[in-house]
Amino acid sequence: MGLMGLTSGFFIGLMIVAALGSVAATVWLWPRFAGQRPAMMASRLGLIAASQVLVLAAVLAFVNGFFAFFGSWSALFGNGGSVPVTVSGAAASSRPIVVTGSDLGPVPGGSALPEDANGRLASKPPHFKGKTTSPSNVAVAPGLDLKGGAVAAARKVGKVLQITVTGSHTGIVSAADYVYLPPQYFQPAYAHVRFPVVLALTGYPNDTWSIVRWLDLPSSAANLVARGKIGPAVYVMMNVSVALPRDTECTNVPEGPQAETFLAQDVPQAVEHTFRVQAGRSGWSVLGYSTGGYCAAKLAMMYPYQFTSAVSLAGYYTALQDSTTGSLYGGSTAFRDENNLDWRLKHLPAPPVSVLVTSSLVGEHDLAGTQAFLRLVHSPMRGYSLLVKQGGHNYRTWVRQLPQSLEWLNQRLTPAIAPSQQAP
């Protein structure tokens, strides 16, 4: 991420200056094109079009930086090599998770400590220069140790780390994802306790930082833990699309990225090997919004021995394919059916998982699809719904639904209990 990065302040500023400049130039040059000849008319149209396009580009750059749809130029336009179909053996044998940043600014667990767990959040993904390697007191993950002051801070507010995950089976490399370790993770009482994990997935298109910035997941979780509503857990925040700008819909694309295997098997395996977390079903849940909601439900239904439960915030339940996905199913209707959750419930045994689906009675066009999915759920699968009266397909709605969703998840995960807290 350099000076001309898609979300850098310099680039967005430059776009705004160019837009203002074009408007000023139009006003300045106005009198020169005041004639009635067709050539004059064409020149006016050209001037107006140029300023319109530049202003629009500036607005798009600003909005993109604000909402973090695309985090980089390669995410927007692709770089052709982000998801190698073939990787060398050496790459596959390195660490599955590398911590690329531990100093993330004013978030719960960031470096500039907020007054409380609900401190204000950074407006965009911070940039990193490297990781701390100095002598330390606490080993957080292979390659990352915390020093005295940082340990004291982490024990109070936890820690958000930026990570790069390499899939040992799929070869997929996902950079700029995040993991939130709760304060308890660093406290001596919990030194030998393994924590449950919630895998959180973005929508499409999205930068993973959105889960911190807009869904407010670490803050919400910290707040609920502080109020005793839920137990501490590790939150692994991943981009649902493993090959931006392509929308992969967590599908094992024939002859393409094996996104399903990456999210359902590579990521849990990498996290279980790197952090002090529980392994397997009773300790893992998956949550997501929009495309991430579909994927949360799908991963839990396809891998019930990895995930005990799923929360789908405004997800959908059929196998989507459009211009952003390209061919996802190798042209096979049958394979597409297998990725359709309604079809699975009608034609395959129901998996032993619980799924919470959310929607809005007004403002969410997938309401009918959500209710149809819920009607198809049958034992041993369990379906739950959380419907709000009104709310569109946006973070404002999902933030309202999040606390109840986390409490619901908490009831289905094996808690992390410090030995001193255990009943005698």
Binding site: V23, T170, P349, G383, K389, P403
Partner: protein
Amino acid sequence: MAVVAVVAAAALAAILWYWPRLAGRGVLPVVARIGALGVLQLSVLGLIFLIVNSSAEFYSSWSDLFGDQSGGGAIVAGQAGTGENAVSSQALAPVTVLAASAVAVPDRPKEAGGQLQTVRLYGQLSGISAAGYVYLPPGYGTRGEAALPVTVVISGDLGSPSNPYSAGALAGAAASQIAAHRLTPMIIVMLPAEVGQHDQGCLNVPGGTQADLFFTQDLPQVIGSAYRATPPATRRWSVVGDSSGGYCALQLAMTSSQTFAVAAVPPGGYTAPPGGAETGGSPQIRAQDDLSWLVKHQPMQPISVLFTGGGTGQPFVTAARPPMHVGQTSLPPGKWQLTRVFDWIGSTLQPPAVRS
């Protein structure tokens, strides 16, 4: 939205038409120009916002956009358990033991051979119920608490006692190796390649048998629920296939190395599943079912594969790179020597991990 579109078009036309009137010098015309451009710009941006919002329904109303909505709803349990499918599939036991017999080892006491069970295994996710055999090593019931590694043998002809690779012969070979301390005590699960209606090489057949699901997800759960078996995550699960189960075994190892870390199969090209795959006319899916394509195009899987028997030139031997390891033994063609296979499995399986 239509109103905004009309406003934008009108603003554009008016600017182009009345351009000369605003071309004068002085403060007023300049302000008028900026105002005209501003109106146009706002209406165009407004139009774009409305189009994007209506296609994706980000905001359903003004109150939604400006945040007047608040509060959640109630979490309601669905009607699970009351539908026509309410009969829980858990009603079927994962393992039903139909018969059991001792396995004899020459020149050894009777209990030194272990036990061979005839079983029916039921996979909850796939819904597949398959008849097979489970071999338990000597002292299974009395040995300490250590969980045992698991080998899954996939063969089309386990049942006929005259077959040199029947369940009885497999159990006997394993028992001899274990008694001679050449093989670590292990649980051996023997299943036919054909767990559904047709032999598809243990693939998931869309709309049909989910054999891959059965072998990779149900089976560890089924075996783990009834026997003292180590979970696949310890990388101590292996899979063995004979001429009828070879594609199945290699396919499982190459696409689900999370479950099967070690495989022993006869040599071959493995370009298509037996019985022909259900590719739905998709060349991509056909490519993925071609295991020699997989070894060239997907990342190397952390597996060890042994090709047993005569014949060379498998694409796997030349293409394999770490972390995938390929070995071969040269046996007379057509011969599938159990002793060598078990020797190799015993030497390849990871030793039990020491957990701190």
